[in-house]
Amino acid sequence: MTTAETAQAEPRVAEDEDNELPLAPEAESLGGRIARIAVPLGMLALLLTVWQAYVTVFDVPHYILPSPIRIGQTLATDWSMLFAALLVTLRITVLALAIALVGGVAIAIIMAQSRWVELALYPYAVILQVTPIVAIAPLILIYAPTTQSAILICAWIVAFFPVLSNTTQGLRSTDHNLLNLFELYGASRRQTLLFLQLPNALPYFLAGLRIAGGLSLIAAVVGEFAAGTGGRNAGLAFRLLEAQFRLNIPRLFAALVLLSMAGVLIFFATSLLSWLLLRKWHESAVRREN
């Protein structure tokens, strides 16, 4: 069986190559790429213009609805305070997410090894998840040593479940024939986990990660609302509440803008990571070409 023979006998090969090599996004036309960025930006500009025009024309007072320009100015003048608050919130979000990833994956692996452990742990993971975090937060605030750690625990509880349940699902959905193959070649449990089950669970895990990223930010904000920490450790959520009490509506909007930008940033970061890890082989990350 030579290569020449193969090429001759299977012309499909060459065809497949032509069809499938341009997998990467660079296959997209330049116009398409510009449109992908330009259309949403144009939409944003349109919205802001209408908003600005409305506020100017009807002379809406800034304590009811500040204009986009005024929000921008506030963002600039309060930058040092808001940015410090953003860092506090982001630090908790990222830390909670990181611990949730480690914990979620570790517990998923342990549960995949033993049916008994799964029976013992899984119901409690579900209970932890379905109980609203706002309702648990006051308790956590009482028991946790510091407010920051209480907020961290809140964010962790919320972010942990999607990672756990998705990774568990991924570990379980391993192709039975591949499992047979590993058994046939005498693979150890560790080898089966490392070379088969974990790679198989990767797309599931990454889907869980994207959900967990958004949720951990939400939970960090909810935690801050419940805790109401001021001072040096004040996060964005606290600044937001504070601005509301003081009827400093432009600052409230500015904090909101930063918060949603942080959410978008987390979403892009997790999506990028997912794409980087899956782009070579997983259908979800490969462009369909017909």
Binding site: E10, V13, L21, L178, Y185, G186, A187, V286
Partner: protein, 279 residues
């Protein structure tokens, strides 16, 4: 057509008219398998498989041919009966089973690994590094004509090429026994014919034993020295047929009268077996 109407049995294989005299490699003795839901997949299956033989298990779905293959591979225990290996390893202790290669109906490749990574797997599980295994991986890929695709991912390959990768992976451990579970069933006819020819060439070159499970009369006649026709519910041996035709068999064999005569005979036997199974 000397063998057309003779009622063949296993003795014919070993007769002077037979192509080679075989030492048995493995003997299945009264294998029965009952699944936990009560289905009797196999009842009292006894087969001797000769060293270097190309044997097909042919039968309708549900006749337990895949189950038999899995039991030989050691995936799943027989409920009763025994699998006796006749390989006296030099210096080894007792008759253990030899190196086995298994090819599933699906290519069963890991989508996250390249062609190289997939073929490397059996050696990797034995602790060989990528570097140490490189020579043998490329050799196995060479056997199936895919050296140029070592760095491709399975999803970039056609169905036939994926199957070749699967075969290369089975060959990399240099198995003495190759078990194939309807490996070409999902492929188009042109690709299947091509892979049939390639498989026969490899078998003649390396002299392994092949047990080939199929539901295709034409494929089994083309490939095999001996066909075991199985009946379903419960799965059992209905009859053994020898295919007396010299190797190498090439494409002109497919159109020869003797091939057609064998196909007709096997087809009739298969229908008898299915008729028997239905009541």
């Amino acid at each position: 057509m000397p063998t057309a109407t003779a009622r063949p049995d296993v003795l014919e294989t070993a007769s002077p008219a037979g192509r080679r005299l075989r030492e048995p490699l493995v003997r299945l003795q009264s294998i029965s398998k009952t699944f936990s839901n009560g289905t009797v997949a196999l009842r009292d299956l006894s087969v001797d498989i000769g060293d270097g033989e190309f044997l097909s298990l042919l039968g309708p779905s549900g006749c337990g041919k895949s189950t038999a293959l899995r039991i030989i591979a050691g995936l799943g225990e027989a409920t009763a009966g025994s699998v006796e290996w006749r390989t006296a390893e030099p210096g080894g202790a007792g008759p253990t089973h030899p190196e086995i290669g298994f090819v599933f109906q699906e290519p069963t490749l890991m989508p996250w690994a390249t062609v190289f990574g997939n073929v490397w797997l059996p050696l990797r599980l034995k602790g060989q590094t990528r570097q140490a295994a490189r020579g043998r991986v490329m050799e196995a890929l060479g056997m199936v004509g895919l050296e140029a695709f070592a760095d491709s991912y399975p999803r970039e390959l056609s169905g036939g090429m994926k199957m070749r990768v699967s075969i290369a992976r089975a060959l990399i451990t240099r198995p003495k026994l190759l078990l194939m579970d309807e490996p070409f069933a999902a492929l188009d006819e042109i690709t299947r014919f091509k892979l049939n020819n390639d498989l026969l060439h490899l078998w003649e070159t390396f002299g392994w034993t092949v047990i080939f499970v199929t539901h295709s009369v034409f494929e089994s006649v083309y490939l095999s020295e001996r066909i075991i026709v199985m009946a379903a519910r419960p799965g059992r041996v209905y009859r053994e047929l020898a295919i007396e035709a010299p190797y190498p068999r090439e494409d002109d064999f497919r159109t020869s009268p003797i091939y057609n005569e064998h196909c007709r005979r096997v087809s009739v036997t298969l229908h008898e077996a299915m008729g028997e199974g239905s009541h």
